[in-house]
C-alpha cells in the first residue's frame, strides 16, 4: 500500500490549486500531472533531512520542468522543509516562492525555468558523486515538451557514456506541451525505444499509480552502469475533471468558482 504517498499527493493537489489561483499563475496542468511522482519520491524514495536541506548525503532532486514548481513547493512544505503558511506567498512580492523553481527555497537544488537545463546539471552532480565515491543519487523530473530541446539529447548521450547509474530521469509524459499535443508538435514516440537506443535503462509506468511508481523508483539502478529513465504516462490536469487533457490549463488560473469546483471534485475523488 502507498496510502501515505496518496494522501500526500492529494494534499499537494489541493495546495497547487489554491496557490495557482491565488497568485493568478499558470502551469496548473503540468503541476497536477506530476503530483503523484513527487509524492512517491518524497514519501518513499528520496533520502533527505528536511531540517538540514544541504545534508551532504541527501539525494538530489532537480526539477527541470521548473514552471511546475507549485507542486514541488507544496510537497516540500508538507514534508517539513518550510511552513505550509509560506505557500500562500507563492508568486507574491518579495516571496521566496518564485513561479519558476528557485534554488533559494529550502530543498530546491537548482533554479530552472528555461527548459533543457536540469538534466545536464544533474549529470554534473552524478559525475561529482561518482568521482568522489558518494552514494547519493541525482533524480531529475523532465517534461515531455522539453525533450524538444537539443541540450537534453546532449545529456542523454553523455550519461551512459560515463556509466551514471546514480542518475534517474522521470519523464512526466502528459502528452500535451505548451501550444499543442506532443503528437502534433514534435512526436516523441517511440520514446522508450529512443532512450533504449541511447543506452539507457528504461521503464514505463502509469504515472498516477503509486505502487508502480514506488516499485520502479526504489529499485534503481535497474541495470548496473546504466542511467535509469522512467517514462511516467500521466494526464495533464490529473484529478480535476474539467482540467484533464485540456491545453488551456497550461495557461489559465482558476477563478474562485472554478477553484471551489476543483477542490470539491478532488475531495470526492480521493477520500
Amino acid at each position: 500500500m502507498s496510502k501515505k504517498s496518496e494522501q500526500l499527493a492529494s494534499k499537494v493537489r489541493r495546495e497547487v490549486l489554491k496557490m495557482v489561483s491565488l497568485a493568478k499563475a499558470s502551469h496548473i496542468g503540468g503541476s497536477l500531472s506530476m503530483a503523484d511522482i513527487l509524492a512517491v519520491l518524497y514519501q518513499d524514495v528520496l533520502r533527505f533531512r528536511s531540517k538540514e536541506p544541504q545534508w551532504c548525503d541527501r539525494d538530489r532532486l532537480i526539477l527541470s520542468k521548473g514552471h511546475c514548481c507549485s507542486a514541488l513547493y507544496a510537497t516540500l512544505a508538507f514534508r517539513g522543509f518550510f511552513s505550509l503558511k509560506e505557500l500562500e506567498t507563492f508568486g507574491g512580492d518579495r516571496s521566496r516562492l518564485m513561479t519558476h523553481v528557485c534554488h533559494t527555497v529550502p530543498g530546491v537544488e537548482f533554479s530552472t525555468g528555461s527548459l533543457g537545463h536540469g538534466l545536464p546539471y544533474a549529470c554534473g552532480k552524478a559525475v561529482a558523486a561518482k568521482r568522489r565515491g558518494a552514494l547519493w543519487r541525482a533524480f531529475t523530473i523532465l517534461s515531455d515538451g522539453e525533450l524538444d530541446e537539443g541540450s537534453n539529447w546532449e545529456a542523454i548521450l553523455f550519461a551512459p557514456q560515463h556509466r551514471l547509474d546514480n542518475l534517474v530521469i522521470i519523464i512526466d509524459y502528459n502528452k500535451i506541451q505548451s501550444f499543442g499535443s506532443v503528437a502534433s508538435v514534435m512526436e516523441l514516440d517511440p520514446l522508450a525505444k529512443k532512450l533504449h537506443a541511447f543506452r539507457w535503462s528504461v521503464k514505463e509506468v502509469d504515472g498516477h499509480n503509486h505502487c508502480a511508481l514506488k516499485n520502479a523508483l526504489t529499485t534503481v539502478p535497474w541495470a548496473p552502469g546504466k542511467p535509469s529513465c522512467l517514462i511516467a504516462h500521466t494526464v495533464k490536469g490529473k484529478g480535476v475533471s474539467f482540467m484533464e487533457n485540456e491545453l488551456q490549463w497550461h495557461y489559465k488560473s482558476p477563478d474562485k468558482q472554478q477553484l471551489d469546483i476543483a477542490l470539491s471534485g478532488l475531495d470526492n475523488q480521493f477520500v
Binding site: 537548482f110 530552472t112 537545463h117 545536464p120 554534473g124 552532480k125 561529482a128
Partner: protein, 309 residues
C-alpha cells in the same frame, strides 16, 4: 595542485591538455562537441564543490551555450571559468565562425562574471592564479599561443587593477589595453614619432563592479587611448566610457577597436587586425591626434566630456 580544479573540454585541446589529463584523469572529461551540456555539467560539478574550467575555441564555450552560462552558472554564482582560446582574430583565416569579436560585450553583461583577458604569457599566469584563488563565475580569454612575452617580471594582479607595463606614465598619455592587443601598444610607444612620451597600461582583470575603482586610476593620465581586438559595441572601450560617464575628470579618451569589415575578410591575425584598424600606425596616429602636451592643458573639462560621446 588545487584538488578542486576540474577540467571539461569541448572535444578540443589536442597537444595542450594532455599533461593535465595524464596527472588528474579523475578530474577531466572530454565532453564531446556539446557545449550546452558541457556548461550544465560544469554547473552541476561546481554545485558539489569543484572549480570547473571549461575549454573550447572562441564562440563555442560562450555564444553556443550562452543561456547555460547566464542561468546555470552566473545566476547560481557557481565557480565556473569559461576558457576561450583564440580570442579576437587569433583564428583569423578560419573565418567568422571562429572569431571572438563580440565576447567582451556579451560576457561582461552577465552579472556577476569576471573577465580575465591577459596581454601576454606573464599576465596569463597571473590571471589564472587569481582565478584559482578567487573561484567565481569567470571568463578567461586567451590568445592562441606563441604571443610574445612583454612583462620582464612576474606581475601581481587583482580585479580592476590597472598595471603599468612600459613607458612614461604621466606625460602625454597612455594606451590602455586588455587582452593580447597589448603588443600593438608596446610597439606604438616605441615609435619615433611619439618621442618616448607615451606609456602603456594594461587591465587584464575587470568586471562591472570595478568600473568605479578604475576611474581614479584613469584620472591620473592626461589622455587615454583604449585598445582592443573586439568590435566597438559593448567592448572594452565602451566599458571604459561607461565607467567615465558619470564623472567629471580632465582625462581625454579615444578608443581603438575593430571595424566590422574584418568579418568579410580572410587572413591571419595581424593582417585582419590591421584591416580592422588595429595596427601600430593607427595607434600612433591617434596618439598624435591628441596634439602636444601644452595644447592638452588648455582643454576644458567641458570639452573633454564631449570626447566621451
Amino acid at each position: 595542485m588545487n584538488p578542486r580544479i576540474f577540467l571539461l573540454v569541448g572535444d578540443l585541446g589536442y597537444s595542450v591538455v594532455e599533461p593535465f589529463v595524464a596527472e588528474f584523469p579523475e578530474r577531466f572529461i572530454n565532453m564531446g562537441v556539446a557545449e550546452q551540456n558541457m556548461v550544465g555539467v560544469a554547473a552541476g560539478l561546481a554545485s558539489e564543490g569543484f572549480h570547473v574550467f571549461i575549454y573550447s575555441i572562441a564562440n563555442f564555450p560562450t555564444f553556443r551555450c550562452l543561456e547555460q552560462i547566464r542561468n546555470d552558472v552566473c545566476y547560481h554564482r557557481y565557480p565556473v571559468t569559461v576558457v576561450s582560446v583564440g580570442g579576437g582574430l587569433a583564428y583569423g583565416n578560419l573565418g567568422y565562425s571562429h572569431h571572438a569579436v563580440q565576447d567582451y560585450a556579451i560576457m561582461r553583461c552577465l552579472n556577476p562574471i569576471a573577465i580575465a583577458a591577459p596581454g601576454d604569457p606573464i599576465e596569463t599566469v597571473a590571471c589564472v592564479q587569481w582565478l584559482v584563488s578567487n573561484p567565481q563565475p569567470s571568463y578567461l580569454r586567451l590568445g592562441k599561443s606563441g604571443e610574445p612575452i612583454i612583462h620582464e617580471h612576474k606581475v601581481s594582479l587583482d580585479l580592476g587593477k590597472i598595471i603599468e607595463v612600459e613607458g612614461k606614465m604621466l606625460k602625454s598619455g597612455v594606451f590602455l589595453t586588455t587582452g593580447t592587443s597589448l603588443r600593438y601598444a608596446i610597439e606604438a610607444i616605441r615609435h619615433p614619432q611619439l618621442h618616448g612620451e607615451w606609456g602603456v597600461v594594461s587591465l587584464p582583470l575587470w568586471n562591472e563592479e570595478t568600473k568605479s575603482n578604475i576611474v581614479a586610476e584613469l584620472s591620473k593620465h592626461r589622455a587615454i587611448i583604449s585598445v582592443e581586438d573586439h568590435f566597438p559595441a559593448g567592448g572594452f572601450g565602451s566599458y571604459l566610457r561607461e565607467a567615465l560617464a558619470d564623472t567629471i575628470i580632465q582625462t581625454r579618451m579615444k578608443t581603438i577597436s575593430l571595424s566590422r569589415n574584418v568579418s568579410d575578410l580572410i587572413g591571419n591575425q595581424d593582417f585582419l587586425n590591421s584591416q580592422g584598424g588595429l595596427n601600430v600606425i593607427k595607434l600612433v596616429d591617434v596618439a598624435l591626434s591628441f596634439g602636444s602636451q601644452s595644447q592638452n592643458d588648455l582643454i576644458s573639462t567641458r570639452e573633454s566630456q564631449a570626447t566621451f560621446h
